[in-house]
Amino acid sequence: MIIDADVVTLSRLQFALTALYHFLFVPLTLGLVWMLAIMESVYVMTGREVWKRMTQFWGVLFGINFAMGVATGVTMEFQFGMNWAYYAHYVGDVFGTPLAIEGLMAFFLEGTLVGLFFMGWKRISRVKHLLVTWFLALATSLSALWILIANGWMQNPVGSAFNAETMRMEVTSFAEVVFNPVAQAKFVHTVSAGYVMGAMFVLSISAWYLLRGRNVDFAKRSMTVAASFGLAAALSVVVLGDESGYAVSENQKMKMAAIEAMWETEPAPASFTVFGIPDVQNRTTHYALRLPWVMGLIGTRSIDKPIPGIANLVEETKGKIDNGIQAYDAMLVLREDKNNAQAKAILSAHDKDLGYALLLKHFIDDPRQATPEDIQKAADSTIPNVPVLFWSFRIMVACGFYFIALFAYSFWLSSKRKLDHKRWYLKLALWSLPLPWVAAELGWIVAEYGRQPWAIEGILPTALGVSSVTSGQVWTSLGGFVLFYTALAVVDAVLMVKFARKGPDGLGLWPSTTATKA
């Protein structure tokens, strides 16, 4: 079995690009749809027309974004089969189920109802339309739940075991897969991030109207909803991000150590490095500015448990590789002699570490022939890209705290009815628009790039997951994606800006106001 290194690199690049691109649209859908549900609820409860118009106007922008989310989501579902065929075979028994349930429980509902949201205003009663919107909102979040259960299992593969006869992972407890603590923490963290994005989207565009003195009442009401929803979401994203950090430290110690650029184990409780320049060559961090105790508290919820450093983890990995080699050997024996009791015993003792033997396939064809140098190389390959993780994480967290501050201030202003009094605030709100996207994309990088070299943590190395395709084929699809996705991004941006500029007044949803009033 020879795996083409180009195919691995190109497939990873394609997956990362298409996932990051898809993730530009999905969080906005997740957040904006709840804003629509809130606005429409106020309309149905008070009967005030402005709230219906708000729902419809933000709905137009929601629709443009939703189409992009759907279009790019299909790619994600089919890419596992196209580019990651061995992955699909190796884990489909576990990983496929949440994806299928997502379709059954959530995406079907979402896809069926979204048409009625747009076309149903005149066809169904107010209350029925409100129900459609609520179910639409619920379905989008449920959809995220199942996708993150699948993703959570990649980070923390519980409830499953290796079957040597079918050469794959199989479900042993679906409940463990669903209630995987990593999946649960990720779900709340990710949907909250989406809610922040939705709130910021409404806040920023409304601020632009106020700066122009257009749609003043409309914009102030929208900002009020965005401020309260955004504040709750921003608090939740940081608090539950912390929960997510705790879950990571339990099962992905290497990812945690890389995020912290923690080369050696520190005495408990570990400090948190606020700033520093990680130096991969010398395995040290220059100019480190450390906050004592903080990391130990976040990572272990204690003051006496140490957080292991990268060097120790590499040593631990070597032991796992040794166990993995024994499991690998036993697996091959069993392939020839199904009833070999000794091999069965060895395999069941060490099959949890089988994946570590597969890491060696990067360097040699047969893991059983590994020299100590090969094992060292394989163990070293488990260190992710430290500087990228270190910085991505810090920028993401800084954004998170900034969101809390901005939304808290917005909330205070809106409760004082002073949203349109300070131009600097409105400008700040407008120019903060890109930040939720920056944070979300960096979050994806921390979670998924930080998982490398594993596709499934400790089970299947990413490189082994690829398909039997040629690099020419992947170049073709990668080129196609870059071309079409870029074109679509331009069209999407043009339409978004066009309709945001038109505004509720330009679309005939709201009478024009004069600038003098503001």
Binding site: G63, M119, M167, S467, L488
Partner: protein, 376 residues
């Protein structure tokens, strides 16, 4: 609750249900998209055609997404081998699925003839590509595809995109194209303004005629020109999912299963009766015409599935590697779990989908399109 063998048969049937669901529910969306410039003579008529599917195509498309998800979960090897093996073909389908949603959504957003023409042709192309390639892919199942497994069950594929374009597969592609164009025309005959509906009915009759001719040609070709596959030796129906545990021979007939189970003939019969039904009813009652074309689509897919049974994806390179219902499924536990989830959610899906279609019942008229502004 069910034994492994039964669950495998149930999931084989459910795979069929999802395929038929996709072809019936989303097939007419693709048909309408492909016929946009033929049936819609001007922008207003095209708006009518688009509005007949606009509120529902998104939900219909989920049949496809769910089909992919269910194949991943219940038949992971089938999902892995077919999607990676037919890489470029699937990529083209994927592009169509990416461009279609944005086409539907973005087309009406700007009042400009060039803009709308551009998206019209994008939609036409996306429709034709998906209908044609799905048929070509199906045709290749009968021919067998060039893959094999090694001991780690890692699949390798030894073929190119152009090899998929075997003449028999092309005929299968045309069967799919004519069938779904007919289905789309039947939808327009039922839902569009009467002036368009009359033309759609005429088109539907021509397309069904073409379909019947092509379907019969494909059937005769399959009987006399395409060798079948058969499992030799004992057939283990509840063993572990490892394709290499069996032996397969090539050279029998794909109609062997029809001889074994004569009731299988009801599927091709249904397809032909559906086509006859379209001819008889589409011009008079749109609903009867649409039901007929739906039966035609269902019968066609069933007839292909029955002929292949128990094969899912035969390998002509290494017949032993062929995927069958008995050795390419997920574990017993997963199949059971997924059946439970399907039993809960499928009835709900059918319930709310029916409600949505009920709300949207009636023809979309030219007056309606003139009255409503189409910015949102």
């Amino acid at each position: 609750m069910f034994d492994y063998e039964t669950l495998r048969v149930i999931w084989w049937a459910l795979l069929g249900v999802l395929l038929i669901g996709f072809a019936v529910m989303d097939g007419f969306d693709f048909g309408i998209a492909a016929l946009l410039r033929v049936l819609g003579r001007n922008d207003e008529e095209r708006l009518v055609l688009l509005e007949t599917i606009e509120p529902t195509w998104e939900g219909n498309q989920v049949w496809f997404i769910l089909g992919g998800g269910a194949a991943f979960a219940a038949w992971p090897m089938l999902y892995a081998v077919s999607f990676s093996g037919m890489y470029l073909a699937i990529f083209l389908v994927l592009l169509a699925f990416i461009l279609r949603p944005v086409g539907f959504n973005f087309r009406g957003k700007i009042h400009d003839t060039r803009w709308r023409n551009l998206w019209d042709w994008v939609l036409v192309l996306s429709g034709v590509v998906v209908m044609l390639i799905s048929g070509v892919a199906f045709g290749n199942l009968f021919l067998g595809v060039p893959f094999q497994f090694d001991g780690d069950l890692r699949m390798s594929w030894h073929g190119s995109f152009l090899e998929l374009l075997h003449p028999f597969a092309l005929v299968a592609g045309l069967v799919s194209l004519s069938m779904l164009l007919a289905h789309g025309a039947c939808w327009a005959a039922m839902k569009a303004d009467q002036s368009i509906a009359t033309r759609a009915a005429t088109l539907a009759r021509w397309f069904t005629l073409a379909y019947v001719v092509l379907y019969v040609i494909a059937g005769i070709w399959l009987a006399y020109g395409v060798p079948g596959y058969a499992i030799v030796g004992p057939v283990v129906t509840d063993g572990v999912s490892n394709p290499l545990y069996k032996e397969v021979a090539r050279g029998s007939s794909w109609f062997a299963s029809y001889m074994q189970h004569p009731w299988f003939w009801s599927a091709p019969l249904l397809a032909i009766l559906g086509a006859v039904g379209v001819q008889l009813t589409v011009a008079k009652t749109g609903l009867a015409g649409f039901i007929s074309s739906s039966l035609m689509v269902a019968g066609t897919i069933l007839s292909a599935g029955f002929a292949l049974f128990p094969f899912l994806l035969p390998s002509r390179l290494d017949p032993r590697s062929s995927l069958t219902v008995w050795d390419a499924s997920s574990s017993h536990t997963t199949l059971g779990l997924m059946l439970g989830a399907t039993a809960i959610f499928m009835p709900l899906i059918i319930l709310y989908t029916s409600w949505v279609y009920r709300v949207l019942r009636g023809r979309v008229t030219l007056e309606h399109v003139r009255d409503s502004s189409h910015t949102y």
